[in-house]
């Protein structure tokens, strides 16, 4: 890994824009919402929205809400793979980078995901303060970028200059031509120390820790899940905004001379998610579905495969859930810390 000093983060951003299309979190015109949008001359500094996460994680760049799988012309089925212009996601936060790594592994065999992913380089930014509802340190997903999860990781220093960590050869190639000065190795050590300080500044997450334990010991009474099931309005908001959620369904759409099959995001909170053609439903109770969702996020059973929990501590589910069963509410309830 090579580390450089950068004076101006916008200099890097504009340099990247000369090489590939750049997407970065920014305020949609005339509003305070933070969204992933193409970089334009109007885009403000990446630090202007600090420390807010964009509404969506970056997953829709690789696993979009809807995409075509194949077409059928009456005789043959033809796979339709996406052809994506080379792009850079600039300003991805650590929690979302951990989620991308998680999905990279989950979708390893998936040609659609991989086509989009391979066209993309990731430039991350270390979070310097807790965001509202975020608890990345508790699930080992931040606040600083884990080694290897971004092509470039940017870190703002006390004096407002930046460290740029080139984790991959592609990342190193991106900054060639900027003639950046190599950083003193001590600065890397300093960065690690700083991360523990910032992590210590996050609000208490004892409810998350205790909840994880309860889930893994299957200690939460069924009635607790059922009462939370009653609060699940089946809107699909949590699964849509969750950076690691990956469930999908597919459906056919008519086109000239045939059909095309699209897949779209699905949600395990829907009653019909597991319902079979016979109308038998292995997860007919909303409480079971709520339990399953959190099991998927926090069970040790998945750590074997992914080397981490399915939750990266972004807190988006808490913000979007109309029924007050986002991560903090649920973990408080099941850990008895409510």
């Amino acid at each position: 890994m090579k580390v450089f000093i950068l004076e101006d983060i916008e200099q890097l951003r504009d340099h990247l824009a000369t090489q590939r299309q750049v997407f970065t979190p920014q305020h949609t015109e005339g509003s305070t919402e933070l969204d992933w949008l193409p970089l334009t001359h109007k885009t403000k500094s990446i630090t202007s929205a600090w420390p807010v996460l964009p509404t969506y994680p970056a997953k829709q760049f690789f696993f979009p809400d809807r995409e075509i799988l194949f077409q059928f012309d009456g005789h043959a089925f033809e796979e339709v793979l996406p052809e994506v212009e080379l792009q850079i996601l600039f300003g991805v936060r650590s929690c979302d980078l951990c989620a991308i790594a998680y999905q990279d592994q989950f979708f390893q065999q998936d040609p659609y995901y991989q086509a989009r992913r391979k066209a993309t380089l990731l430039v991350g930014i270390d979070c310097k303060q807790p965001c509202e509802g975020g608890f990345c340190p508790t699930v080992n997903a931040g606040p600083f970028i884990r080694d290897g999860l971004a092509d470039l990781a940017c870190h703002q220093r006390e004096d407002e200059s930046w460290l740029v960590l080139a984790h991959t050869p592609e990342g190193a190639a991106l900054i060639q031509g900027l003639n950046l000065q190599t950083a003193d190795p001590n600065l890397i050590t300093q960065r690690s120390t700083e991360e523990s300080q910032i992590a210590a500044g996050f609000p208490s997450a004892v409810h998350i820790e205790a909840g994880i334990q309860r889930i893994n010991q299957a200690q939460v009474p069924a009635e607790t899940w059922q009462s939370m099931g009653l609060q699940c309005l089946a809107c699909s908001g949590c699964t849509n905004l969750c950076p690691t959620c990956s469930c999908f369904t597919s459906y056919d759409r008519p086109i000239a001379d045939g059909i095309e099959r699209e897949r779209c995001w699905d949600s395990c909170l829907y009653d019909a998610f597991q319902r079979e053609a016979s109308s038998h439903n292995p997860s007919a109770d909303a409480g079971q579905r709520v339990e399953r969702f959190w099991f998927h996020k926090f069970s040790d059973a998945y750590v074997k495969t992914f080397d981490r929990y399915g939750c990266t501590g972004c807190g988006r589910c808490e913000k979007t859930c109309p029924g007050v069963i986002g991560v903090h509410s649920v973990m408080k309830r099941i850990s008895g810390t409510l």
């Binding site: 799988l69 939460v220 069924a222 990956s246 999908f248 369904t249 998610f273 053609a277 998945y302």
Partner: protein, 271 residues
């Protein structure tokens, strides 16, 4: 993996009615392309414009790529499939899933217990075990009533090669066995030695659970009891998420599980 979600065209070669709202389908590959599959694996059929659904191999693909399935009309896709005729072209993806643990069954006394539409997933493994002269196999098949029975031709052949008991919740005459397969489990003899050393079962989950409990109580190890599960399966490759069972996906880790594996999966959650 290229082609992961894209079907291959196949042709419907033969159709006949077989049991209540059920039909026996034979499919053949187009352009002589064939594939190999194991007993207990499954595939999906794609009806353009109507979606995709999973079915089990009744017989595995032969050298010409012909294979069979017994399909009951249940949802919108099967309703549409029942409108198809021989010669129609549809889509196919597969094979998927783990299949029955053949290596652990050969040379043993194997009892197969099927309920209702759970018989077809056991047909290919039954044929496979019958063909092995060191393996002893017997079948108990429970149905709601005589008109609900499926696989009439297959069953009449099996009667020649292994002990077969057929039970009915609602028999139509006194000669037919009334009750569930478990009610008659002691009446079936698997020579030599009598008692089964492995159980294969497929049917309603309540029946399978009862079978598993019965045999564990009768000193059979839970790793020798094998169940074929049904779940709503879409992608077949462990991605779409619909067929979860605890931390397992039935389409890749299953559909065949030992009772030992299942009890572990059930213990993962409370609800």
């Amino acid at each position: 993996m290229k082609g992961l979600m894209t079907p291959q065209p196949i042709r419907i070669a033969e159709i006949y009615d077989d049991g209540e709202a059920s039909r026996h389908f034979t499919f053949e590959a187009i352009n002589g392309t064939t594939h190999s599959a194991k007993p207990g694996q499954f595939f999906t059929l794609v009806l353009p414009g109507h979606g995709e659904a999973a079915f089990t191999y009744l017989s595995l693909p032969d050298a010409d790529g012909r294979f069979k399935a017994l399909i009951r009309q249940a949802g919108s896709l099967t309703t549409e499939l029942f409108k198809c005729d021989t010669g129609d072209l549809i889509g196919f993806r597969g094979p998927f899933g783990n299949g029955w643990p053949i290596d652990q069954l050969l040379g043993k006394r194997v009892l197969i217990i099927a309920g209702g539409i759970g018989l077809p997933p056991l047909a290919a493994i039954a044929d496979h075990l019958i063909a092995d002269k060191n393996t002893q196999v017997a079948l108990i098949y429970g149905s709601h009533s005589p008109t609900d029975q499926v696989l009439k031709y297959e069953r009449s052949a099996w009667h020649m090669y292994m002990p077969v008991l057929e039970t009915f919740d609602h028999p139509s005459n006194n000669e037919q066995l009334a009750g569930t397969p478990l009610d008659h489990v002691t009446e079936i003899e698997i020579k030599p030695g009598g008692k089964p050393e492995a159980i294969l079962t497929c049917g309603p989950e309540v029946m399978m659970d009862a079978v598993a409990h019965y045999f564990t109580q009768n000193n059979l190890a839970s790793e020798d009891i094998w169940l074929a599960l049904e779940r709503r399966m879409h992608c077949g490759v462990g991605e779409c998420g619909h067929c979860y069972l605890g931390s397992s996906y039935v389409c890749t880790d299953g559909p065949i599980y030992s009772w030992q594996q299942l009890t572990q999966l059930h213990r993962q959650t409370t609800a």
